[in-house]
Amino acid sequence: MDVQGIDQVMFIPSDIDTYPWLRNGLGATAACKAYNEWAWEGCQADPERLFFAALLPLQDPKGAVREIYRVAAKGCRVGLVRPIDALGNYPLQPRFDPLWRAMEETGMVYGMHPFPALGSLKPPGYSEQHSASELINRTVTSADIPHSFLTNVQNFQAEASVWVVSALFSGLFERFPKLKAAVFEASSTWLSFVLDECDKYYKLYRNERRFPPLKRLPSETFFEHCMTGFEGDEAPPSRLPEFYENILTWSSDVYHHDGDDVWRALETMRGCGLSAERQAKFLGGNARRMYNIPAPKTFIRERVTEIERPDWWPTADEIECAMTAEASVLPRAEPVAVNTFQRAVGGSN
C-alpha cells in the first residue's frame, strides 16, 4: 500500500464466484462467518488503514441478517453481495428485504460486487443462465479457441448494469431510504449513458408500471444512494467530472493481475485536467463519506521509486517479445492454412 500510494483500503475476497453455490445454508453461513472473522483479524494490524467487506450468505437469509449485525458490531462497513442468480438467489428478491433492513439499521453499505461468471461450483446439470456475464464466457468456449482475453472487459459491467437497472426500477431505495449501495469493480463510463437510459425508459413505460410509481427518476436515486468504483478507466470520468463528482470511488484491484496504483491514476487524472479537489474526492473523499470512515491522521505524500524486484522479473526485451502479435499463436501440431495465416499477419485476399 505504501508503494502504491494507498492510505486506506477496503478488502474484497477473491473467491466471490464459489460461495454463492454452496447449497447448504448453514454451511454457507459458516463459510461466510469464517471468512469475515479472518478478514476482521487481518484488519486489526492497522484498523485506521485496513477495512473489510463482509460476505453474506444469501442461501440463509436469517443467517445473513445475524451476520450483518455481528460484523457491523465489529466495525464492518460493507456487506458484499454478488449480483448473480446462483441457485435462484438473485439479490433483489423481496425475501431478502430483512437484509436490507438490517443494513439500514446498522449503517452498513450494500456492496454489489460483480465477477466473471466462472461457475466453478455450479451443480452438475444446472442448465440455466445464472449471470449476465456468462454469455461472454460462451463467446470463448463456443469458439474452439482457449482465450481468456475478454474476461476483464465486459463481465463486470454486464453483472453490475443488470443489478443497477433492476435495483433502480424496483424502487429498492424508496423502500429502504437509508440504504446506500456501492458498485464495485465495474468501471464507470457506462453509467454516463445507462442512468439516462433508465430515466428515458421509466418515462416510456410509466403507463404500464405495476410497481408503485417512483418518487424520483432512477438517475436521481442513483446519485443519492449509490457510488461506483472505477479502476483503469480514469480518463472518461475525469472528463465528465460534474457527472461523477460525488459518486466515484477509486479502486486498485490489487492483487489481481490487472491491479494498479494511485500514482498512475493521478497521472491520468492530471493529464485530463481534473482539479485537485476532485482528484481527492475520487481517490478517497467519496469513499470515506459513504463508508463513514475518518481520514487517516497521516498519509503518503511521496512516491516510492526504488523497488526491489525478484530474479524472475521479466526484462524489457522479454516484455516487448511477449507483446508481438505472433506471441499469441498457440503451438500447433499442424500449421494453420497458409492463406489464413497470411491474412492474419497483414496479407490480404
Binding site: R95, L135, V165, A325
Partner: protein, 434 residues
C-alpha cells in the same frame, strides 16, 4: 387564430439515418415468399397480432408477447410525440402502429418531418426471430422473401431508402449466395447481422470466417443491430436473462426452487408465492441489452477474436447500442492485452487503440450521450446517428442537431456525425431533400 412562434428548424447538410426500422407485413409471407415454402415459412417464423393475443412463432413454437399488445412499442412513435406522451398513452385501448413502419410513402412523409434525408432500414420481426430458424432451406427462402419485399419498399424512393439485407447464416453457402445476389441490387448497403448466439455458437467461431471474407470481397457493410430479444430463449442474447431477473423482483417464493423463469433452460419456472404488486409490468432489457449485445460483439468478435484484424477492409456499423462505451473498452482491452495470455490460432495485435483508429468500424450513437457531447473530437470519425424510428424511443434529426449544437459542437462535425460518416461507411451518395 394563434400562430406558432416557434422557428422552423433548418439545416445545411444531408442527414442519413443509420438506424430505422420496417415492420414486416403479412404480404412478405403471402406474396413474396416462394410458394413452395409458404407453409414451412409461416411455421418457421411468423408474427401474429390478433385482437386477443399476439406472439412470435419460431420453429413452430410460440413466444407470446410479454408486453401489452395495445401499445405496439416497436412501431408507436410518430413525429410530434414525446417520450412522456408515449408513457401516457392509455394502455387499455388499442393504438395503431405507425403507418410509416410498413408504408414507404408514409415513411417518406415522416422522414420529412424528422429532418431526415436518407435512411438505412432494419427489420423488426425478422430481427427477433430469423436467426433462430432451424431449417437452412426455409431460412434461405425467408431471407429472399424479406430482401425482395424490402427492395420493393426502397424502390418508392431509391435515392432515399436503403436496406440491410437478410442473410441466412444457418448455411454459409446460402448466405454467401444471397450476399452475391443482393450485391447487384443498389438499395442494399449492408448485411444485417444480429449479435447473438446462433446454434450455441457466437461470431467468434471460425465458422463465420467465410462470411467476413465475402463481406470484405463484395464491399458490403456488416450492419450489426441487436434485437430486443424479448421473444427469444435464454442463452441467445442478453435480454432473456435480464427479463428473468426482472421476474425475480416480485418473486416471493412460498417454496424455494432453484431458478426458473420465462424461457429458462432448466427449473420449472413456477412462482409459487404471492406477490402483492404482481410483476413490474414492462420489460427491463431494452434499457441495457442493446449496449451489452453490441459491446460483446465488438470486444469478442471484432477485437478479441481478430475479425477486424484479419479482415481490415470489411466495414462494420454497430447500430442501436450507444457509442461512448468504446473509450472504456479500449482502455480495458489494452490492459488485458498486457496481462492476459492471448492464446489464439492467429497472431493477435496488442495495440487495440491503434487498431481501432485504423479500422473500418463505426458505432451508432444517440445525441444525448454525455461523453460524446463533451469529447466530440474523440468520437467524430467513428460514429453514425440513428433515429430508431418507429420505436417508442425514437428521436428526430432536429432533436439531435439541437442537442449537439447546444453542447457546443460545430456544424461541420455535426454534419459528419449525422451524415458524412454514414455515407462513407455505407457507400452512398449523400443528398439533401429536407
Amino acid at each position: 387564430m394563434a400562430t406558432s412562434s416557434k422557428p422552423v428548424p433548418k439545416k445545411a447538410f444531408a442527414v442519413f439515418d443509420s438506424d430505422s426500422h420496417v415492420v414486416e407485413p403479412r404480404a412478405l409471407w403471402e406474396k413474396y415468399l416462394d410458394p413452395d415454402y409458404r407453409a414451412l415459412g409461416k411455421s418457421a417464423l411468423w408474427r401474429e397480432e390478433g385482437p386477443t393475443n399476439s406472439y412470435l412463432k419460431v420453429n413452430g413454437r410460440m413466444f407470446r408477447d410479454t408486453m401489452n399488445p395495445n401499445i405496439p412499442r416497436l412501431a408507436i412513435w410518430r413525429p410530434g410525440i414525446t417520450w412522456e406522451q408515449v408513457g401516457e398513452l392509455d394502455p387499455d385501448i388499442r393504438h395503431a402502429p405507425t403507418r410509416g413502419a410498413s408504408d414507404p410513402q408514409a415513411r417518406l412523409a415522416d422522414m420529412g418531418a424528422m429532418g431526415i434525408d436518407q435512411t438505412l432500414l432494419y427489420p423488426t420481426w425478422f430481427a427477433e426471430g430469423f436467426h433462430l430458424v432451424e431449417d437452412p432451406d426455409v431460412a434461405r427462402a425467408l431471407a429472399r422473401a424479406y430482401n425482395d419485399w424490402i427492395a420493393d419498399f426502397c424502390a418508392a424512393a431509391p435515392e432515399r431508402l436503403f436496406a440491410a439485407a437478410m442473410v441466412p447464416l444457418q448455411n454459409l453457402d446460402f448466405a454467401i449466395a444471397e450476399l452475391e445476389r443482393i450485391a447487384t441490387m443498389p438499395c442494399f448497403r449492408g448485411a444485417f447481422i444480429r449479435p447473438m448466439f446462433i446454434e450455441n455458437r457466437y461470431f467468434t467461431h471460425p465458422y463465420y470466417d467465410p462470411l467476413w471474407g465475402a463481406l470484405e470481397r463484395l464491399g458490403i457493410t456488416a450492419a450489426v443491430h441487436p434485437a430486443t430479444g424479448l421473444w427469444n430463449p435464454e442463452w441467445t442474447s442478453h435480454a432473456p436473462f435480464i427479463e428473468k431477473m426482472k421476474g425475480r423482483l416480485s418473486q416471493m417464493a412460498l417454496l424455494r426452487e432453484a431458478g426458473g423463469g420465462p424461457f429458462a433452460g432448466g427449473g420449472n419456472g413456477a412462482n409459487l408465492g404471492f406477490s402483492p404488486t404482481g410483476e413490474l409490468g414492462h420489460p427491463l432489457a431494452p434499457v441495457i441489452s442493446p449496449w451489452l449485445d453490441n459491446h460483446m460483439f465488438v470486444g469478442a468478435a471484432l477485437i478479441g477474436f481478430t475479425v477486424m484484424q484479419r479482415y481490415p477492409r470489411m466495414k462494420v456499423v454497430m447500430a442501436h447500442g450507444k457509442a461512448s462505451w468504446m473509450e472504456e473498452v479500449l482502455e480495458k482491452m489494452e490492459a488485458s492485452a498486457l496481462t492476459t495470455p492471448l492464446l489464439h490460432k492467429y497472431p493477435v495485435r496488442t495495440d487495440p487503440e491503434e487498431m481501432w483508429e485504423e479500422g473500418e468500424v463505426m458505432l451508432g450513437f444517440d445525441a444525448e450521450e454525455r461523453l460524446i457531447q463533451r469529447l466530440p473530437g474523440d468520437f467524430e470519425a467513428k460514429i453514425v446517428w440513428g433515429s430508431h424510428y418507429p420505436r417508442q424511443e425514437a428521436t428526430t434529426a432536429w432533436d439531435a442537431i439541437a442537442t449537439l449544437s447546444g453542447a457546443g459542437i460545430g456544424p461541420a462535425t455535426i454534419a459528419r456525425m449525422l451524415g458524412g460518416n454514414a455515407a462513407s461507411q455505407f457507400g452512398i451518395q449523400l443528398k439533401q431533400w429536407v
